[in-house]
Each structure stands twice: as C-alpha cells, then as structure tokens.
Amino acid sequence: MATQDQRNTGSRPQDQEEAEQDPTPPESAGQPQETTQTEGVDDLLDEIDGVLESNAEEFVRGFVQKGGQ
C-alpha cells in the first residue's frame, strides 16, 4: 500500500486557501432586493459564498471515501 504520499509535508494548501479568502462576505452581485425575505436569502448566500471552498469541481472530485457500514 502506498503510504509515503500521506506524510504530511508541512506545506498546507488548505490553510493558504482559507487565509487568502476575504473574511467579510463579498458584495452581493447587484441582485434586486424587493422584499426583506429576498434580502435575507441574498445575505445568506453572500455568507455561504464567503466560506465555500474555492474550486468546487476539484474539491467535490477530491472527496472520495472508502466503504463503511
């Protein structure tokens, strides 16, 4: 079983990625905010945008599990 690759190298791409992210949620992309409900949803999506992993496709592809119960 190839185990050498798992040695953690001290370089931490994950941390760097997070550190580069702006801690404040990005501006909403100029969506119309007609009702308070829409405002709440926009605000929520802005917050989630701010914490979502940056490369969706690669991240989702990398989430591979071995079987369990």
Partner: protein, 527 residues
C-alpha cells in the same frame, strides 16, 4: 438507546491519503488532547469477548467464511509498521511508550475508534431521545477537537471530517441507531412493523443529497443520503446488500432479556430536531410494537418505494400498499402518529418528552402536507434544499453544477466556520434544542441513568488501572492481583449514578473500589 456516527474524512492537502491512517490520526489526536487534560493515558483496549457480529436475530449464525471481511467487527484492525509511523509522529506523548491507538473508551461512556476507513463515535447508552441528541452532538465536538489538534500539530496536514453518509460516487457509510428491545417480542413482528415506518420516516429525518442513484447517475435532489444504497428488506449485512431491517443480534446486554435493535437505515443528522424526532418517533413505534398496538400498513415493494420517496421532494409520490391503497409517505407517518397518540392518551402517560415528541411530530406532518419548505428550521433535507434552491435561483444553476454538490458536502462539514449547517444555526435559521454549554459537558460527563455512568467514571477515576472495556465489561489490572479483574455490566439500566455514585466517592483507590464492588456489603450496588 444510542447512536453511532461514521464520519466522512479527507486530508485536502494530501493526495491519495490512506483513510485508515487518517482515521487513526483522529483517534490519536483526541487521545493526545485527553492526555493533556488528565495527565494520563486514556487509550483503552476494546474487550472483544462479547462481540457477535455474525449472530442473526432470525435464529442462526452466519459462517465466518461466508461473511464479507468488513462484517468481522469482532477483530481489531491492524496497521502496518509504516502506517503506524505516519500516525505516531508528533501525536503521542514522548513520555509514554509509543503506541498507536485504534480505540478509545471515553470518560463520557462513549467509544471513539477506527472503523475500517472512517473514524466512528458510538455514543453512550441513554434513556431518552433528547439525551441521545445531546451525546450524539458531543461526538461531533470530540472529533472537532481532534481535527483542531491535527491542524495545529507540526508535520500534519489538516484533516476534515463530514457528518454525512456518501461521497456521491459509489460509496456510503452509516450512521446507526441502537434500541434496547425486550427479547420476548418476536423479531418478525418488529421487522414487519418497522419496514413501512423506515420507508417513510426520511421525510422528517433525511439529510438531503444532491444527485440520484448509488453511482450518482442522474442529476437532481433527494431526501435521503442512504436510500439509494439499500437493496434488501431484511438481512445481516451492513456494508454490502444493505437491508432496511438489520438482523445483527449482538445484544451487548443480558441476551435472554434483551435484543439490541441495530438500525442502519438512518442518515446522520446535524439538525437537532430531525435527530430528536428520528430517535423519538422510532422509540414510540417500538413501544407500540411491544404493546401489540402497532399498525402494519404493508408496502408492496419496500426497497423500490424507499427510493421513490427519497427521489420526490414534493412528497406527493404514492406508495402502493398490498391492500390496494395508495398513500404518500406523510400519510404512512400519520398512520403511526395517530396510533402512538392514541396509545399515549389511553395510557395517560405524563412523560413530558413523549408529549413533546408527539406534538412536534404531528405539527411537522401538517407542515409537510402543506408547503414542505416551511419545515426548513427543523429538517435537514429541507434546510439544505432551501439553500440549494436559492443558489439555483440566483445563479441559474442546473443540478449538475459542481457548486451545488459542494453545498451538499459542505452542509455537513464539521468545521464550524465552514459548515453550512453551522452557518445556518448561527443565524438562528435552525431550531436548537440543546445549548453549546450542555454539549461541552456531555463531552466529558456520562449520562447518569445508565451503565455508561459506571463505565465513564471508571475510566475517568482510574485511567491507569482500567486496561480494557466494552459496552458490557470493564477490565481492571490491579497491582495486588495477578489476574485481570473483569467486571461485567450486562444490564444497561444498572451502573447508574444512583447506584454507584457513593461507591466512587467512598473509594480512594482502584483496589478499594474493586474490592468494595465485588465483596461489599451492598451487593445491589454492583452494576
């Protein structure tokens, strides 16, 4: 009752990381955290003596050779020397002999261990659904602490854990519930009554999933993480050919008196209300079965209907019953709800938690009959779908868009800053039942009203002398005794605070404790 959670695990910075090694890092990181707090090794060997994963509740044993290797959970997993080196470096205390732990029994009575390719937390035994939610959440905090420890240990890449049940490629891993049921209740009656209940209960406790099919063949959204991975109605397996009703007969208790119903069909819940209702309504249905008051609306094709219900977030899918009726999953739930309400009213039960479960169950079923999206503060799949729909509306995404798959995954991310469930909860968008302080207490304290109290306190009080433990035993190694002292705890409702608190308080040493336990004037105190 109790819960078991297998966490999804990745190290995003390490290509091709070995999942067993990562899981072992989690267990050892938590051990290191404990050592810091207690100044002592709390790694405890699991006592496999009473494990019986191949005993079938239908009355037979599966042959060892016929079993899938993953079913042999009565053997400790083994790491190669090379893998041990990967775990041990930096995490174990240099003053201790270098040992890599695959198993810990915790001071709160829980077990944290490496289960094949996942870290698994099995909660201590509790007697109420709310306590089950509390100690289930304590497990999330336990592994969060391990994650933090790994992230701050030089030489280790961060490990992320997810409270979900599939990688949406081909793999599923479980979150199980266990219920203590009188042995006298015939197993086939339990199975018949629970199959329609399990086909339908996902409407209140599904965790939601982007993608349809075990191989994610079809774009879309479904209620359950697990539904597509079930192939059978009744069976012993948990990793292959998964059955709606699992027959593993491993009671971890007085076998003549009890069976442990091992439920493998649930999703791991982050929503406390989903989790509370999952455990509470299932307990109520088991009690109906016990009293022979349970309705049995026989579903014509349970496995197919399980999946059809999961694939229809409108909740309008009609399930065909063998008597010719066609009903929705909410209708099926209502049949059980009405029977439970009637039984509780007839018996004049005054248990406030039972009343609360019934009230919430009935209200939620009404919400689901109206606009299911109104249940977003209570139910995981609805909360998740609401966020996904908002993304679809704002950015015109179709169900194949990887950003939606990422939202699905990150809903269950256990890093509080990253996990979408935690973001929703922090905004007050998820209803909470238990405070954070309460959960932190449950991380170190066992429940007071089951044998978990005895187990947890033995480990906290005598960490040096307790050398092994399992659900139904504690093994002491005492300086004055040549042989190990194995104390059986086969009765889950004994070993409580009420029975053993004084014994703990009055014993200065493990020697004194064991001797009073074995020969004391009060035999009724023994667990």
């Amino acid at each position: 009752m109790g819960t078991e959670t297998e966490y999804g695990i990745i190290a995003p910075g390490v290509a091709d990381a070995n999942a067993t090694v990562l899981s072992t890092q989690v267990v050892n990181a938590y051990a290191a955290t404990l050592r810091e707090g207690l100044g002592n090794l709390t790694g405890t060997r699991w006592d496999y003596t009473d494990e019986a994963p191949l005993s079938d509740a239908r009355g037979w044993q599966m042959g060892r050779l016929a079993a899938d290797p993953s079913q042999l959970t009565d053997e400790a997993p083994v790491l190669s020397a090379e893998q041990i080196a990967l775990v041990d470096q930096g995490l174990s205390d240099p003053s201790e002999d270098a040992t890599v732990l695959m198993n810990l029994v915790l001071g709160n009575g829980a077990r944290l261990y490496v289960d094949h390719a996942h870290p698994e937390y099995s909660s201590p035994e509790v007697t109420s659904p709310l306590d089950a939610v509390r100690w289930d959440r304590a497990g999330d905090v336990v592994v969060q602490r391990a994650m933090q420890r790994i992230a701050s240990t030089p030489g280790f890449s961060p490990v992320n854990l997810y409270k979900n049940n599939t990688d949406s490629k081909s793999v599923s891993y479980g979150s199980h519930e266990n219920y203590l049921v009188p042995r006298a209740v015939p197993f086939n009656r339990i199975a018949a009554a629970l199959i329609p209940f399990f086909v339908s209960r996902q409407v209140i406790c599904g965790a939601g999933r982007v993608g349809i099919g075990a191989l994610n063949q079809q774009p879309g959204f479904q209620l359950s993480q697990r539904a597509d991975f079930f192939e059978n109605e009744v069976g012993l397996e948990t990793t292959v050919r998964r059955p709606i009703i699992n027959t593993r007969d491993e009671p971890h208790a007085v076998a003549e008196k009890y069976r442990r119903l091992h439920v493998i069909i649930g999703d791991a819940n982050l929503s406390e209300v989903s989790n509370y209702l999952k455990l509470g309504t299932t307990s109520l249905v088991l009690s109906l079965i016990e009293q022979e008051l349970v309705p049995v609306p026989e579903v014509a094709d349970p496995v197919r209907e399980l999946q059809a219900v999961s694939h229809d977030p409108s909740l309008r899918h009609l399930i065909r019953l063998t008597d010719g009726r066609q009903v929705t999953a909410v209708d099926l739930q209502a049949i059980y709800f009405e029977a439970a309400s009637k039984a509780v009213a007839t018996q004049g039960s005054t248990d406030p938690q039972t009343a609360d479960i019934l009230q919430r169950w009935g209200t939620l079923l009404d919400v689901l009959r109206g606009d299911p999206m109104d249940g977003a503060r209570q139910v995981d799949w609805i909360a998740k779908l609401k966020v996904l729909q908002a993304y679809r509306d704002r950015d015109a995404l179709d169900w194949k868009d990887p950003r939606l798959a990422l939202v699905d995954l990150q809903y269950a991310d256990l890093r509080p800053g990253k996990g979408i469930y935690y973001r929703l909860a922090a905004r007050g968008a998820m209803e909470r039942l238990i405070t954070d302080d309460d959960v932190v207490r449950a991380v170190s304290e066992p429940p007071r009203d089951t044998r978990a109290y005895f187990r947890g306190h033995c480990i906290s009080r005598f960490p040096k002398e307790v050398v092994g433990a399992s659900w139904d035993s504690i093994i002491f190694e005492l300086p004055s005794q040549r042989r190990l002292q194995r104390i059986q705890t086969r009765e889950p409702l004994r070993g409580t605070a009420e029975l053993t608190e004084e014994l703990f308080a009055g014993s200065r040493t493990a020697e004194e404790f064991v001797s009073r336990l074995q020969g004391g004037p009060e035999p009724s105190m023994a667990p």
